[in-house]
């Protein structure tokens, strides 16, 4: 079974992170498959809406840092891959909806921030605990600033920790909130169905302009962010905190 798969129904595609046993943590292999699936979706003119979700109970637990701990080159390549994936997702011609079925943490929360819409339930966990681990949430920062505005993004990124789904909604990190996980599919299907009624050309043109206006096309910024994040990750402070956290 592949780590990332796509199913289509009418004009709506669902892209699933399929690594439930690791809470869909972003490994080199998972990122590689996501790149491939997103490349395929970019050419699908029969698809208007892409719903991104995670298999199992989590949406995505973040970067799989265990495998790259102590290896700067590997860490840089993992972070660069995430940076390039976020850029590629944002530039998809389709409208993107994150179906945040459970924990969306760090880089995983970053994936939701890149989407045009995100829907979650009141008890999910979302946020950017990077600073608590001595790590810099650089790759996700531009996306959060674009979504929330700089003032709120500063608070969320510098405070670290996690928010409940409800708090994330109040902060503006997600566009839609339901009370329980059981109601999530109804809300996501309704939103995706409504979005899919839009003229594909009208949606693509509007989204393209929004990307142009908010600087989303800037790939160089994201690559610099990945390099910065890798630099901070190699410091002894970050390495010690991560070892303690990851128990290795």
């Amino acid at each position: 079974m592949s780590l990332a798969h796509v199913e289509c129904s009418g004009r709506i595609a669902r892209l699933t992170l399929n690594r439930a046993e690791a809470r869909n943590a972003l490994s080199v292999e998972l990122l590689r498959e996501l790149h491939a699936r997103v490349d395929e979706l970019a050419g699908r003119s029969d698809v208007s809406v892409v719903v991104i979700t995670g298999a199992g109970k989590s949406f995505c637990a973040g970067m799989d840092l265990k495998a790259v701990l102590g290896n700067h080159d590997l860490a840089l390549s993992l972070l660069t891959s995430l940076a390039e994936l976020t850029h590629k997702l944002r530039l998809l011609p389709q409208v993107l909806v994150a179906r945040v079925n459970g924990a969306a943490i760090g880089g995983g929360c970053g994936l939701t921030t890149v989407c045009d819409f995100a829907v979650t339930h009141a008890d999910s966990k979302m946020g950017f605990p990077e600073v608590d681990l001595g790590v810099c949430p650089a790759v996700v920062a531009p996306w959060l600033v674009r979504r929330l505005g700089a003032g709120r993004a500063r608070m969320v990124l510098l405070r670290g920790g996690l928010l409940s789904g409800r708090e994330a909604f109040e902060m503006g990190m997600v566009s839609g909130l339901v009370e329980s996980a059981a109601e999530l599919d109804g809300a996501v299907d309704e939103l995706a169905g409504r979005l899919a009624q839009g003229g594909p050309d009208a949606l693509r043109a509007t989204k393209g302009l929004l990307n142009e206006l908010d600087g989303s096309t800037d790939l160089a910024l994201l690559r610099r962010a990945a390099a910065l994040s890798a630099e901070v990750l190699r410091t002894p402070d970050a390495q010690d905190r991560l070892r303690a956290k990851l128990g290795s």
């Binding site: 045009d116 929330l148 003229g199 949606l203 043109a205 393209g208 929004l210």
Partner: protein, 249 residues
């Protein structure tokens, strides 16, 4: 269909086509622009933009597009809208908008010209136009100044409308009050309060904000994106649903 009246230091700029829910025509948009010029020559210190009848503005009068499958009417409406917003933004008086009942599509786009925008809790605001093959891109540079980027994206891509209360939450309007009548009272009170401020300081502050926002160029760029779809296959296929359903928005 556009009325300009002076009440003390407040210039009322009124959309006056209540039988069509103030649906905008190219002539109305041109009159809006000439109304702004007309106000320049008066001692008014504030512009109050409002709509006569049950709602502020239902958007473009799309039935006019029926006889123009080449998109000429839609182009004229989009260009007029963009010019009207820019002319309100670039003149020196503060603009208060009383958006009661509904501000939909082009009507919602007009809110991008307001310094203070008041609506009511049950009002309907948004852009239900992508379904018609029309891109609300023309509104994007101005909407982004009022709301966070995420909310602007949601409103422009999602064809559903939101309530006035929700519009206040996301910052699309400055304030939402209980009833349409209160919208007019509140907007007039805001306009009178602004009229008491020293006009030179107001004009200088507004000019500086305009400079920081820097949306003149992007405003025209956004218009070009909306224009690029006019008369094309998708719009020609989807737009006739407006008059074929016999339902006017």
């Amino acid at each position: 269909m556009i009325r300009v009246t002076l009440e003390g230091e407040v210039a009322h700029l009124v959309l006056d086509r209540p039988d069509k829910r103030n649906a905008l025509t190219p002539e109305m948009l041109a009159s809006l622009i000439s109304g702004v010029t007309q106000i320049e020559a008066t001692p008014a210190r504030v512009i109050l933009l409002r709509g006569e009848g049950s709602v502020f503005c239902a958007g473009f009068d799309l039935t006019l597009c029926r006889d123009h499958p080449d998109g000429a009417m839609m182009r004229s409406l989009l260009s007029g809208l963009s010019e009207a917003i820019q002319s309100l933004r670039s003149q020196r008086r503060p603009v208060v908008i009383a958006a009661h009942g509904a501000a939909v599509a082009g009507g919602c786009a007009l809110l991008g010209a307001g310094d203070v925008v008041i609506t009511n809790d049950q009002a309907r605001l948004g852009y239900p136009v992508v379904r018609l093959g029309v891109s609300p891109a023309v509104s994007a540079p101005f909407l982004r100044l009022r709301t966070a980027g995420g909310a602007a994206r949601e409103r422009l891509l999602d064809p559903s409308v939101i309530t006035g209360k929700e519009a206040q939450r996301i910052g699309l309007v400055s304030k939402s009050v209980a009833t349409p009548a209160e919208v007019h009272e509140s907007a007039l009170a805001e306009a009178r309060a602004l009229a008491e401020k020293p006009p030179t300081a107001m004009a200088a502050t507004r000019r500086l904000i305009e400079e920081i926002e820097d949306v003149r160029e992007t405003g025209w760029r956004a218009l070009a994106v909306s224009l690029s779809l006019t008369g094309k296959d998708e719009e020609r296929r989807l737009l006739p649903s407006v008059w074929e359903s016999g339902r006017e928005r």
